[in-house]
């Protein structure tokens, strides 16, 4: 707990597509969109999250894992087999791409928690899975679970995002939500786990920005059992939303009002009930205010949320056409795949753009 978290600042490009009716599309569009913003990343990290890609295993947690070596895999699999029923296990199919060098071993497991283990742990199923992931990621050398949701998956690595997409053969997957990230880190992490998106259970986050509150956020999260092993802002942001929404049960709207809290002078102008509520949130969760520039796209099985920091220090554009909602760092990233959107707008700082699947009440 006393340790200091070193971290790597980075700039980025982000893009997101969702179909409100749940119609699944291939990864071609998202790759095109993020490829157009090529100059916003520098080849040191790219990745995608896709929802709806594993309909045959929709009740299983899909674990995507990086291993440094076979030995690391054998050790980690002991733990996985001890805690989960593994119904399928395979190496993730990839394609040789010239610019992608030295990939780790990449495995995929479709698992469900072992009933007896889950019962004796006295945890909720989600918390049980989260704790198992934290255990592997912080205690098992050379093993890193980078995706763990149901009927969704993250695909990421070191390289330009379009090359990473090619490598993972994303044109062969079909999903109703796609998000993408191209990274511009200011040093060379050289580690695949450090690429984005970052995910935890169904949550995925792609993020552009460097949050200046990282130290305050991470140290608060540590108190509640989160281990910020990745040293990235995105990881911290994912845990913040997980904590606020899954653990403390805040609605999306209130979670947003916590991380991109209104200014005190805005709070003063609210009606009394609202004022007290927002003031209480800001006071109790003051360490979870995300400060500094960010634009993020948060994905879950129910939809996506795009959000800017409260004084809009990062660019982000949204657009709609038919059943599709598009978000991108630059408008060109949208027009590349949707030349004539019905509506294009620049969301205000701290005001979320929420896209929900039809028939779903909340994210």
């Amino acid at each position: 707990m006393n340790r200091v978290f070193p971290r790597i600042p980075s700039g980025c490009a982000i893009s997101g597509i969702m179909n409100k009716k749940g119609k699944r599309i291939s990864g071609v569009d998202i790759m095109k969109s993020i490829a157009l913003m090529h100059d916003r990343s520098n080849g040191l990290g790219g990745g995608f999250a896709a929802y709806g890609i594993y309909p045959d295993y929709q009740d299983h947690y899909a674990l995507h894992v990086f291993y440094d070596s076979l030995a690391n895999r054998v050790t980690a699999e002991e733990f996985i087999n001890e805690h989960f029923n593994v119904d399928a296990s395979e190496m993730i199919h990839t394609r040789k791409v010239k610019s992608i060098t030295n990939p780790p071993l990449i495995w995929r497991y479709f698992v469900q928690p072992k009933k007896n283990k889950l019962l004796s742990s006295e945890l909720t199923e989600a918390e049980y899975v989260v704790q198992c992931i934290m255990k592997i990621n912080s205690c098992y050398e050379g093993a890193y679970i980078f995706s763990s949701g149901k009927n969704m998956g993250a695909f990421k690595g070191v390289g330009y995002p379009e090359d990473i997409g090619e490598f993972y053969r994303l044109d062969e997957y079909k999903g109703y939500i796609w998000t993408a990230h191209g990274r511009f880190p200011t040093n060379t992490p050289g580690w695949w786990g450090g690429a984005h998106p970052f995910t935890l259970l169904d949550w995925s986050i792609v993020h552009n920005g460097e949050i200046s509150s990282y130290g305050a956020n991470a140290r608060f999260l540590e108190m509640f059992g989160y281990k910020c092993t990745l040293q990235t802002d995105t990881e911290a942001i994912t845990y913040i939303f997980d904590y606020l929404m899954r653990k403390t049960g805040l609605s999306l709207e209130l979670a947003v009002a916590t991380v991109a809290a209104p200014l005190w002078k805005e709070i003063d102008r609210m009606d009394d009930d609202r004022k007290e509520l927002i003031k209480t949130l800001r006071t109790v969760y003051s360490s979870l205010l995300i400060n500094g520039p960010f634009s993020i796209i948060l994905g879950t099985r129910n939809g996506i949320v795009a959000l800017n920091d409260r004084i809009k220090l990062r660019n982000m554009v949204a657009a709609t056409k038919g059943d599709f909602l598009y978000i991108a760092s630059e408008e060109s990233g949208i027009r590349e795949i949707c030349p004539n959107p019905e509506k294009v707008w620049v969301p205000k700082g701290g005001e979320p753009v929420i896209g929900l699947l039809e028939g779903v009440k909340s994210i």
Binding site: N2, V4, G11, E210, S213, A216, W264, P293, I311, L313
Partner: protein
């Protein structure tokens, strides 16, 4: 009386070409260092009585006076320097404990000066506080782990909080140790700046009850001036266990300072010594503290946060954890460089630990135990400027107490003779002629100005780091780097070395 072996500490130099023998210095010096010689028809000075408070120098209309260190040196010696030799002369002459005022003047490490702040360059933008909002608002008090919400409405109210517009409060200094005008100055300044001042352990003068909304009332081991109206007059109640300048010992206000007003306020007979015992005699353990905390909560209808103030001592992290669990809403930690009106010199100079290390240790410990968010941490004891405050908050403090800095704003010149009651600046005295030298309107303005100036500077520093709300700096030790300190010190502070 035996031969006095002591020599003057200061030399008063009077430029006879400038001196017009107007006697301003004579009238101004409560120590009687200046006298008018009727026979000679001129003002003369006695160096031995000078405490170097600068009063005469500042007020001399012809700028005829200056004071400097007395140019007398002992034969140099690595072990026996002038301080130790003179101390022995004094004690051999009196058989008494050496007394002093203000915080230690010894050269202990000041970790503030070994910490450097971060700023944004390229990868994220710095923020200009003159053009963008910059928020310093701070809440002190117990926070629940989670906010309870039902049907979109708040289901459980927040426990009582102190709402500070700036993270700076005036620390506890009792009426008795300082003058009523000093109290008035601090109370008005706190009100103007939207922050709090602290009564110290001597009760609250009736004239100051109107400032209750900005007052923290203290309950100390002597229980002076503690009654129901007092407890309910303030915005918070602070139990004083210890003080950084004198951990482990009580206090002693000599009878000569207990005039009518102090007597009424403290509820003790005029002219009687006010002795605060070393411990609270109803607190011999942590569970006793819990009882006092809850007695005070009962007495104030659970409407006010309860603070517990302790001195930074070796085991401070474990003690703070105990205090948090005993039900305190705020923990105030006073570092060993902190000031005082009177303290035994050896205690002041040798007992306790620096506030920076104490704060880091407490913040880390409370986080390890998962209870840091429940209590607020306020630190004091040698906060000298706005950068010290920013560093304290980055280490993990919620807010700071300033005592010495506030008194300097009122005119204190750090002569360290507060315990004599002869403060020529009207601060640490009860002599009516001296007290009136401090005009509370001007004092309030100066103290408020200091807080205003520092909050501007804090905003500049925050903006430079790309932060626009103070809470994002709290405990954000990544914003700090150490210079010139050991691995161990860095480890305790929880910061990386510059260049890492």
């Amino acid at each position: 009386m035996t031969l006095d072996l002591s020599t003057p500490e200061f030399l008063i130099e009077r430029n006879r070409d400038r001196c017009i023998d107007c006697k301003v210095c004579v009238n101004q010096c409560a120590n009687e260092a200046h006298t008018y010689d009727e026979e000679e028809g001129k003002v003369v000075s006695d160096d031995t009585k000078c405490v170097n408070c600068h009063r005469c120098v500042a007020l001399c209309p012809t700028k005829a006076l200056s004071v400097r260190k007395y140019p007398l040196e002992f034969r140099s010696h690595g072990t026996w320097n002038a301080h130790y030799i003179n101390s022995i002369y004094k004690q051999a002459a009196t058989g008494g404990i050496l007394l002093t005022g203000m915080g230690t003047d010894k050269n202990y490490p000041i970790y503030w000066d070994h910490l450097l702040l971060n700023a944004s360059q390229v990868t994220n933008p710095s923020i200009d506080p003159l053009r963008e909002p910059m928020e310093l608002k701070t809440f002190l008090g117990r926070k629940p782990d989670a906010v309870k919400i039902e049907n979109g409405r708040l289901a459980e109210k927040l426990p009582p909080q102190l709402e500070l517009e700036v993270p700076i409060m005036f620390s506890a200094m009792s009426f008795g140790s300082i003058s009523l005008n000093a109290h008035k100055s601090l109370a008005r300044a706190a009100q103007e700046m939207g922050t709090f001042w602290n009564t110290g352990e001597g009760g609250l003068h009736r004239d100051l009850f109107p400032y209750g909304k900005n007052t923290i009332v203290q309950v100390a081991s002597g229980r002076f001036g503690v009654h129901t109206d007092y407890l309910n007059s303030g915005a918070a109640i602070e139990i004083k266990i210890g003080q950084g300048a004198k951990p482990g010992i009580g206090g002693h206000l000599p009878g000569e300072k207990v005039g009518r007003e102090v007597s009424l306020t403290r509820m003790i007979p005029q002219g009687s010594d006010a002795i605060s015992p070393a411990p609270h005699h109803d607190i011999y353990s942590i569970e006793d503290l819990r009882q006092l905390i809850y007695s005070l909560k009962e007495a104030s209808n659970y409407e006010k946060p309860i603070s517990v103030k302790i001195a930074a001592v070796h085991n401070v992290a474990a003690i703070a954890s105990g205090i948090a669990r005993a039900g305190a809403d705020i923990i105030a930690i006073d570092g060993f460089r902190g000031g005082t009106g009177a303290t035994p010199l050896r205690t002041r100079d040798t007992v306790g630990i620096p506030i920076e290390l104490a704060l880091a240790a407490v913040d880390s410990r409370l986080r390890e135990e998962g209870i840091r968010n429940q209590v607020s941490l306020v630190i004091g004891g040698s906060v000298r400027n706005s950068a010290d405050i920013v560093k304290a908050i980055a280490i993990g403090a919620d807010a700071v107490y300033i005592g010495t800095s506030a008194l300097i704003a009122l005119g204190c010149h750090m002569c360290q003779r507060c315990y004599t009651g002869k403060c020529n600046w009207g601060i640490a005295t009860q002599n009516p002629n001296l007290v009136k030298r401090l005009n509370p309107d001007i004092g309030a303005q100066r103290a408020a100005n200091l807080v205003k100036a520092w909050s501007h500077e804090i905003k500049e520093l925050l903006g430079g780091m790309g932060i626009n709300a103070l809470e994002s700096l709290r405990g954000n030790r990544l914003m700090l780097r150490g210079v010139g300190i050991s691995e161990k010190e860095l480890e305790i502070l929880g910061v990386m070395h510059a260049g890492e």
